[in-house]
């Protein structure tokens, strides 16, 4: 991780009031699904940065979707594949450890889903390790 000053701060492009005040210091293991391994930085950009999902909640668009349990990721992936086969999700699961220097985190949306808001300068794709590839059958 690299920071530009001693006091970590969020990027200026975050929408006002984001992350919410009840988001807590990032810590512990997080899981996420991605299309490619090894990690490609573009897959770790927020929707605010890529301009996608314009109808998602504005603050969540500034962060990344992550999960605490690998079972939740598997289950969600299979559900998304069954219901939304025309969209691209996964199939690889990756994980990394977070520390308070990495940003803040909060449970958002559906059960098991969390949003991680990274501090400015945090290289989000770094340190993610491959866990498994979920079979779409």
């Amino acid at each position: 991780m690299s920071t530009q000053s001693n006091a970590p701060r969020f990027p200026k492009w975050f929408v006002p009031g984001c992350p919410p005040s009840d988001a807590v210091d990032a810590s512990g293991t997080i899981f996420r699904f991605v299309a490619s391994v090894p990690s490609v930085p573009a897959e770790y950009l927020s929707y605010h940065e890529t301009g996608e999902r314009p109808n998602a909640p504005a603050c969540q668009r500034c962060g990344l979707s992550v999960f605490r349990k690998v079972e939740d990721v598997r289950r969600l992936l299979r559900h998304l594949w069954k219901n939304y086969p025309g969209k691209s999700y996964g199939p690889h699961i990756v994980k990394r450890e977070l520390s308070p220097d990495d940003g803040r985190i909060k449970a958002t949306g559906s059960p098991g889903h969390q949003t991680w808001w990274a501090y400015e300068g945090v290289e989000r794709h770094i340190s993610f390790e491959f866990v498994e590839t979920v079979q779409n059958n």
């Binding site: 314009p54 979707s65 299979r78 998304l80 069954k82 219901n83 086969p85 949306g109 889903h113 059958n137």
Partner: protein, 386 residues
């Protein structure tokens, strides 16, 4: 993105497609209810996205359909399939960028939800069984076939649950018993090719249930892989002893089609089978192979002559494949000697009789036999002793 096959119409023909009730979301609303210009409900379902544009299928709906969806009694595909529907391209702030009136059968099938997929992951059937064969379908499927399907699911799941719970008990107390994972609540049936689906236990323990069902799914995968490995050697099942392996192959056998009749194949599905990588269709060949494996795994202990004993089946052992008979008459069992209680194992065909005995707590006469150090109930009859 693909060009919709249909009639392009005015963008504002349906009005504002802002969600009024979100039924499922991941990062954005993916399936939701919105209203048309007259305030009548429409069901919107995400098909694909490109850049800032999201394409949704829009169908006419009503409150009954939405309630059925939310209760897990109707799949998403069934809710969307309406004679008239629309494709809508939506931009930011739910602005309609393009709108087409399309017949449902012109929507690309590879963009539609799969049959049986429910609106949320917790409503997806945990186990599904579909009968396939010339004797299956409306006007052909018989009551015996339906009973066989339900019994196959219950027996197969019971075998898998027994091993999965045994494994969990090795590492600590489990607050669940086998029936919680085998006698699952009915979710839906389909007539076209008879299919029956079962949901999660009504009284849910989310963390524990997920682990047990995952364990059962892994066992089914292991068992089928071992069963289908070619070659003369019977491949052992990794991590299972001989008795557990026999139980596993018994469970798989229960799911296979009978050797005669109009049901030739059985397809399994649902969350429990998500980890399966091979075919989900069980054949008569799978039945023969599982029988072979059961015979190879079971050591045949010496059986003794049957005996009769009267007593009360205690309810404490509900959910297992055994019961404990207490208040015995006579208490001196021929060939066994004086005992205060006997733990009897029993086969599937006695399940209803055992359940009646548990529930009524009336005295019953058990015809049993001793096999090695175990006792097996051969029949349960009304007691002739008061």
């Amino acid at each position: 993105m693909w060009v919709p096959t249909g009639k392009q119409i005015e963008k504002d023909a349906l009005g504002d497609l802002t969600p009024v009730e979100i039924l499922f979301e991941f990062e954005e609303p993916l399936t939701f209810v919105c209203n048309d210009l007259d305030g009548q409900p429409l069901l919107a379902h995400s098909l694909c996205a490109e850049g800032a544009l999201s394409r949704y299928l829009i169908s006419v709906t009503d409150q009954r359909v939405v309630q059925e969806l939310k209760a897990g009694r109707l799949d998403v595909l069934g809710a969307l399939r309406q004679p008239r529907c629309w494709i809508a391209d939506l931009g930011g702030k739910w602005e309609v960028v393009g709108l087409w009136l399309v017949p449902f059968d012109r929507v690309p099938k590879d963009h539609l939800p799969r049959p049986g997929a429910m609106i949320t992951p917790d409503l997806d059937p945990v186990f599904r069984l579909r009968l396939i064969g010339p004797g299956v379908g409306p006007g052909n499927t018989t009551a015996a076939d339906i009973r066989m399907a339900a019994q196959a699911a219950e027996s197969g799941l019971r075998g898998l649950a027994r091993i999965a719970l045994d494994e969990k008990k090795q590492v600590g107390q489990v607050r669940r018993n086998i029936r919680d994972y085998s006698d699952l609540p009915y979710q839906y049936t389909r007539a076209a090719s008879f299919e029956i689906a079962f949901g999660r236990p009504r009284d849910r323990l989310p963390g524990v249930d997920d682990e047990v069902f995952d364990g059962m799914g892994r066992l089914l995968k292991k068992g089928l892989e071992a069963l289908r490995t070619n070659g003369d050697d019977l491949v052992p099942v990794e991590g299972l002893n001989e008795d557990q392996a026999a139980q596993l192959f018994e469970a798989i056998k229960a799911l296979t089609p009978p050797m005669r009749g109009g049901v030739e194949r059985v397809e399994v599905g649902g969350g429990l089978t998500d980890a399966l990588t091979g075919s989900k269709i069980l054949t008569r060949d799978d039945r023969l192979r599982s029988l072979q494996r059961v015979k190879a795994s079971r050591k045949i202990p010496v059986k003794e002559d049957p005996f009769r004993v009267t007593g009360v089946a205690e309810g404490a052992d509900q959910g297992f494949d055994f019961f404990t008979l207490r208040q015995l008459v006579p208490s001196d069992i021929p060939g066994v000697g004086p005992v205060s209680e006997i733990k009897f194992f029993f086969d599937d065909h006695l399940f209803d009789k055992v359940a009646d005995a548990w529930n009524s707590q009336e005295r019953v006469t058990v015809v049993g036999e001793r096999i090695g150090s175990d006792f097996k109930a051969l029949d349960i009859q009304e007691s002739t002793h008061d």
